[in-house]
């Protein structure tokens, strides 16, 4: 059992296109489904609201770590930090890293999320509650809508 999650995905698009989709706050917001207040800046907090129907009230916040053009974009955050009464700043955030590599045919994107060992058990329960709330069904709806967008 690992303390991290790693995903590798090959994208049929140039590295610069993928970099833009990750680091331009409006483009990121489109596929990640969050409406961000402003651009990503290393060392600064990025804030916004989740745009999934039914979850519009959920605040989204991350601290941008590294932006090494067309190579590495990273931020720390508190996944499923959805309770307005809780001060999540006391908890250790997880680190999300997007690494890009040029390959034949486009871009290899490697995503890693690490730091799960510090997540308290109540946070894990929250994740399941959100998931059972129809998150999956909503994502499917939105997925087909966006698949029409070039």
């Amino acid at each position: 059992m690992d303390n991290r999650i790693e995903k590798r995905i090959e994208l049929k698009a140039p590295v610069s296109r993928v970099w833009r989709a990750l680091t331009d706050y409006r483009e990121f917001g489109e596929w990640f489904r969050v409406k961000l207040d402003g651009p990503f800046v290393p060392g600064q907090v990025a804030r916004g609201r989740i745009t999934h129907p039914g979850y519009e009230h959920v605040k989204w916040e991350a601290v941008v770590q590294k932006m090494e053009p067309e190579r590495l974009f990273s931020f720390t955050w508190h996944p499923y930090a959805v309770d307005p009464k809780i001060d999540y700043s006391k908890e250790t955030p997880t680190l999300v890293e997007f690494r890009l590599e040029k390959i034949a045919g486009g871009t290899l994107l490697v995503l890693t999320e690490s730091g799960f060992d510090k997540i308290p058990s109540e946070r894990r329960l929250e994740a399941f509650r959100m998931n059972e709330g129809g998150w999956t069904a909503q994502m499917k709806n939105i997925e087909s809508y966006v698949a029409q967008k070039p």
Binding site: K7, L11, A13, W31, R33, L109, E113, A127, M139, K149
Partner: protein, 97 residues
């Protein structure tokens, strides 16, 4: 939790205990190069993260495996993993057009 498992001795203790039976410290020390004291120390670490619990049977402590903490984390990681699969497939559609 992860730190508790990140040790060969503790991993082998968990492996032994995962057959569901109760074991005494003597039984767990049997066949090991480590001292009873060292094995006890490792068991206490596993106990502190809830992976193992102990009960007293006469003068001996008996140790048993508790699967719940591991299951909780595994399911959480599966959930997070699934969420990333969906987000990345949206990214794929977004950049590939």
């Amino acid at each position: 939790m992860f730190a508790a498992l990140g040790d060969e001795t503790r991993l082998s203790l968990v492996a032994k205990l995962s057959d569901g039976q109760s074991y005494s410290i003597s039984q767990l020390t049997e066949g090991s190069k480590l001292t009873r004291q060292a094995i006890t120390k490792h068991l206490r670490v596993l106990e502190s993260v809830g992976m193992v619990h102990s009960s007293r049977a006469g003068r001996e402590s008996l140790f048993e495996f508790s699967p719940q903490p591991i299951e909780g984390i595994k399911q959480y990681l599966d959930l997070v993993s699934e969420r990333w699969d969906r987000a990345l497939s949206r990214l794929k559609s977004f950049v590939e057009g």
